[in-house]
């Protein structure tokens, strides 16, 4: 039968139900009449004949029902009937329905929200054309401490010209990758963050602006493409902005385009920060720009392995031809992997946790439905007796549970939308693409699917259980108004045990995650971020000499130092956790084999920087105003004074005093290329670099002023910021403060993805735990009600009440103990999965296991004690009358 006809007949079946039923009636009545006549003809009395005919026909309702099923035409009316009946049943049990809807809404809502996040971050293709052909190319020679190494633009140019595996390559400036400046628009000042990209960057990604045009090869650096968000916020989505020029930081930028809303650069490449516009600003051929992140588009049918081989061969050649470019290489990974690969495991754990919550919800509802057995058993036995087939009854019961699940989804989806929006909008979590998380079509589909399978899952056991036709027993039992026998109880006990076990696993996992998060917060960063306010300081002034520059910033520093509450002031260009350059160094008097020069991170600071961040001075001294500022173009024989960290001292001069030693910074490792002489004047403590988890790498500090201002203050950030601005205004109009925040906030950004995961897993395990405990309570309370007559007898015969309490608690604790043991055993096997997410905590950490087990036992005992107490309070007379 084809579908359209099926549906048509189904609809007709609904519309003409009465007609078809009466037709069937008439047909069967005729059958019985004719049969009666046949019997009369063979010699029976009319009564006998009629009786025999009816007997022979059997249960007419049952036959009719089978006929309807056989025709398959009544499926729709059956469903409508089931739904109507289900709604009536559910409305009659308001308490049960409310509890079920609420837990389902939580379960399905949480799952939908997590699905939306996972979909945005991990599943949905990146917002680029044929995104699976895009690869990220980092420089493995300069990678370190989790920071991908950057590439010189000359290499990008050569790769573009000499390779055959790529359609094209593009790059953006990743090191110090954002320019913060100020837009003057109709006299109103706005801070603007710009990123530099090369002119083919957008073409490589395969995206075109929603308005205007892409960059062209001859565009000057003063053209700009705005992000959709900035365009809407600042220019209220005015399309006339294209072609206008904007006054930014004293220059004039021409707007040529606006990016599409699904790509705002930062969400993919610098999550957790904000980019307002992109500018073409890559000059190929400059050797000092070791700061490019490279993205390439593979030719169709080209594999990443093949491209890697070609690149390796080419780079060997290039290194020979151009020793002045220093050490470089290319490591290709799929762009998707680079962008969100590190979040796969955390989100997997999150998905498992939230799935667990839904599973526990199912188990709870299953057991609630079974508990209603007593009430429903009789009804169902009657239906079976009246001729309903077992399949029909199962379908009815499943319809009820799926109805419930859909109700739960209807409530849960708004919840999911709220949660997803809150997380997507917060921007507090440095997770790429997270801000594009929406409860969209796929997510709604997921919610529906989850609802259907949830309904089936929690409905199937009770449905199978109920529809087992032990008619007589059920009718009798139910008629007596007592328990429906032990068979339901056994299943419910199994359910509770599994529920306890599941929640135990979740508790252990969240315990481990919380512990490692706490350890993470306790990590000695090497500096003290508390009470430090930082901001970018921009001075539009040309200094003719270094001395002038130093004097200027010393004046700034003095004035700020005089502000109320300020303890110390310093400058740096690279705060801890900011991306910075890596260089190769060589200790004077040492020989290194080629390719074995140690890499160190470069940063800068003045004396105040170490003071303000409380970076301890281990040996020697830090900078003073006499120390010459570092310049790239300085003459060959200049000696700079530098401060290094302990790690670098240990690496270069193991067991020796580093102070007074000379080190060469090999900007480029080739012969004759620039190298700077540096004299170590002091050793300071190690500062964690990129991730809190990893030990500090070797670091070298060059003397520097300006850039980022750090201020240690006793004031709050708000009042300090106000004072700072006031002080700076007095210094003149050519100095601007930008991006005021506390150092703690900055550090926090690096912990935020972990915080999100930990918070959610913690929340889900709490939810699961509460649900599981409600489950235990339900089962115990129910078994107490069942045993009230027995308790009455025991009491009447003189059993002390306390022994009744122990009887009930003992029964309940059996389940809790078994579940707890199973859960802890399961955790032992499962927590290895989250090992990669843990920090300084073993996946078999005894504390997490013991605490979770104890918690489950304690709350489990509580859940048993409440009904037990109630049982013991029963008056024997009332209990016996229940029989």
């Amino acid at each position: 039968m084809n579908w359209p006809r099926n549906i048509w007949e189904g609809l007709r079946g609904v519309a003409l139900k009465r007609q078809l039923d009466s037709d069937m009636d008439e047909e069967m009545r005729l059958h019985i009449e004719l049969r009666t006549q046949q019997h009369i003809d063979s010699g029976m009395t009319p009564e006998q004949a009629r009786y025999a005919a009816v007997r022979q026909f059997g249960r007419m309702d049952s036959v009719k029902d089978t006929c309807r099923d056989a025709r398959r035409l009544h499926w729709l009316s059956d469903i409508l009937q089931d739904i109507g009946y289900g709604v009536r049943i559910l409305r009659r049990n308001v308490g049960f329905t409310a509890v079920a809807l609420l837990t389902l809404a939580l379960g399905i809502g949480a799952n939908t929200a997590i699905f939306s996040l996972v979909n945005a971050v991990l599943i949905r293709p990146l917002p680029f054309r044929d995104a699976d052909r895009l690869v990220w190319i980092s420089n493995p020679e300069l990678s370190g401490a989790g920071i991908p190494g950057m590439t010189r633009s000359v290499n990008v140019r050569d790769w573009r010209e000499l390779t055959h595996c790529f359609e094209d390559l593009g790059c953006y400036v990743a090191w110090f990758g954002r320019q913060q400046t100020v837009l003057n628009y109709n006299g109103e000042l706005t801070r603007v963050e710009a990123t530099w990209v090369d002119r083919r960057f957008l073409k490589v990604l395969g995206i075109s602006p929603r308005l205007g045009r892409d960059f062209m090869e001859d565009d000057t650096v003063d053209t700009v493409i705005l992000t959709d968000r900035f365009w809407r916020q600042k220019f209220l989505g005015d399309p006339a902005i294209i072609g206008k020029s904007l006054t930014v930081g004293g220059r004039s930028w021409v707007v040529v385009g606006v990016l599409a809303p699904n790509f705002d650069f930062s969400s993919v490449f610098i999550p957790g920060s904000k980019v307002d516009c992109i500018r073409p600003s890559v000059h190929f051929g400059d050797l000092s720009d070791n700061s490019h992140a490279v993205i390439a588009r593979l030719k169709p049918n080209m594999t990443i392995q093949g491209a890697q081989l070609e690149m390796d061969a080419l780079n060997r050649e290039l290194r020979k031809q151009h020793p002045e470019r220093g050490s470089f290489g290319a490591l290709l990974v799929p762009l998707r992997e680079h962008v969100s690969g590190q979040f796969r495991r955390p989100f997997l754990v999150l998905t498992c946790a939230v799935g667990c919550v839904l599973l526990i919800t199912c188990v709870n509802l299953s057991s609630l439905l079974l508990a209603r057995a007593a009430a429903r058993q009789r009804e169902i036995a009657v239906r079976l007796a009246l001729g309903a087939g077992r399949g029909r009854v199962i379908r009815q019961l499943l319809t009820e549970s799926i109805l419930l699940a859909w109700g739960g989804a209807a409530l849960g989806i708004p919840l999911a939308i709220l949660v997803t929006q809150a997380i997507a909008r917060s921007q507090a979590f440095g997770i790429p693409l997270l801000e594009f998380a929406r409860v969209d079509g796929p997510a709604l589909g997921f919610a529906l699917l989850a609802a259907c399978s949830t309904g089936l899952l929690f409905g199937i056991v009770p449905a199978l259980q109920f529809s087992k036709g032990q008619l007589q027993g059920d009718l009798k039992e139910a008629g007596r108004g007592s328990s429906p026998g032990r068979r339901g109880l056994r299943i419910r006990e199994t359910l509770v045990v599994s529920e306890v076990a599941l929640s135990c696993v979740l508790l252990v996992a969240s315990g481990l995650l919380i512990q490692s998060f706490v350890r993470l917060l306790e990590v000695d960063l090497g500096f003290r971020p508390e009470q430090v306010v930082t901001c970018r300081i921009r001075v539009n002034r040309d200094f003719t000499t270094n001395t002038q520059q130093v004097a200027y910033f010393e004046d700034v520093s003095r004035r700020i130092n005089a502000l109320p509450g300020v303890e110390s002031v310093g400058f740096t260009h690279a705060l801890p956790f900011a991306i910075r350059d890596v260089v190769k160094v060589r200790a004077a008097g040492e020989t290194y084999r080629p390719g074995e020069l140690p890499s160190v991170f470069v940063q800068d600071g003045d004396r105040g920087y170490f003071e303000t961040l409380r970076i301890p001075v281990i040996a020697g001294r830090t900078f003073d105003s006499q120390d010459r500022l570092f310049e790239v173009g300085a003459p060959q024989d200049t000696t700079f004074r530098v401060v290094i960290n302990q790690r670098m001292a240990r690496t270069l001069w193991p067991g020796r005093n580093a102070v007074g030693q000379t080190v060469f910074i090999q900007e480029n490792s080739g012969p004759g290329s620039g190298s700077f002489n540096c004299k170590v004047i002091g050793v300071v403590g190690d500062v964690r670099q990129n991730q809190l988890e990893t030990e500090a790498a070797p670091q070298i500090y060059l003397p520097g002023v300006g850039g980022q201002l750090v201020v240690r203050t006793t004031q709050t950030m708000a009042s300090c910021a106000k004072d700072l601005r006031a002080a700076v205004r007095q210094l003149g109009s050519d100095i601007i403060l930008e991006d005021v925040q506390t150092l703690s906030q900055m550090v926090d950004q690096f912990i935020s993805p972990k915080r999100l995961i930990m918070l959610m897993v913690g929340l889900f395990s709490l939810l699961a735990f509460v649900l599981a405990m409600l489950g235990i309570y339900g089962v115990i309370a129910y078994s107490v009600i069942q045993r009230i007559p027995e308790m009455g007898i025991r009491l009447a015969l003189g059993s002390p009440r306390s022994s009744l309490i122990w009887l009930v608690i003992g029964k309940g604790m059996q389940l809790v103990l078994v579940g707890c043991a199973a859960g802890l055993a399961g955790s032992l096997a499962l927590t290895r999965v989250i090992q990669a997410l843990l920090f300084e905590v073993s996946p078999t950490d005894p504390l997490a296991f013991a605490a979770s087990g104890l918690l489950v036992l304690l709350v489990g005992a509580m859940a048993c004690w409440l009904p037990a107490r109630r049982a013991a309070r029963i008056s024997p007379m009332i209990a016996l009358r229940c029989e």
Binding site: M1, D23, M24, E26, E27, M28, L30, H31, E33, L34, R35, Q37, Q38, Q56, F57, G58, R59, S62, V63, K64, T66, C67, R68, D69, A70, R71, R72, L73
Partner: protein, 108 residues
């Protein structure tokens, strides 16, 4: 008379067969099968009517209201073209099976 139950799956074929010459109503079909089998086979109403609805649903038979022999409204079933074809298929399948089973039963 000792009656035996119908072999599983044969009822559909028998219905198609007795409907082949002319349309019959439900009781007529039952009676005809019993009569043709010389009262050896009995057709329970509990399986006859569902079978009729099933065959109709598959498009092998169709129904029409008409006058019964005792002047009552009765639903007459008749074969459709697809039903005739089906009957042929089932009949030849049946013959093959009978022959095969016969051979096995005689062999021992």
């Amino acid at each position: 008379m000792h009656k035996i139950e119908l072999l599983q799956g044969t009822l559909d074929m028998l219905i198609l067969k007795v409907l082949n010459p002319r349309p019959l109503h439900g009781f007529g079909i039952a009676e005809r099968i019993e009569h043709l089998s010389q009262d050896v086979l009995s057709v329970g109403e509990g399986s006859l009517y569902p079978a009729l609805y099933r065959l109709q649903d598959r498009g092998w038979i169709q129904s029409e209201w008409g006058q019964s022999e005792n002047n009552r409204r009765a639903k007459y079933y008749s074969l459709t073209r697809a039903g005739r074809k089906q009957l042929e298929t089932e009949a030849s399948g049946w013959e093959q099976m009978c022959a095969a089973i016969g051979r096995i039963m005689q062999s021992a």
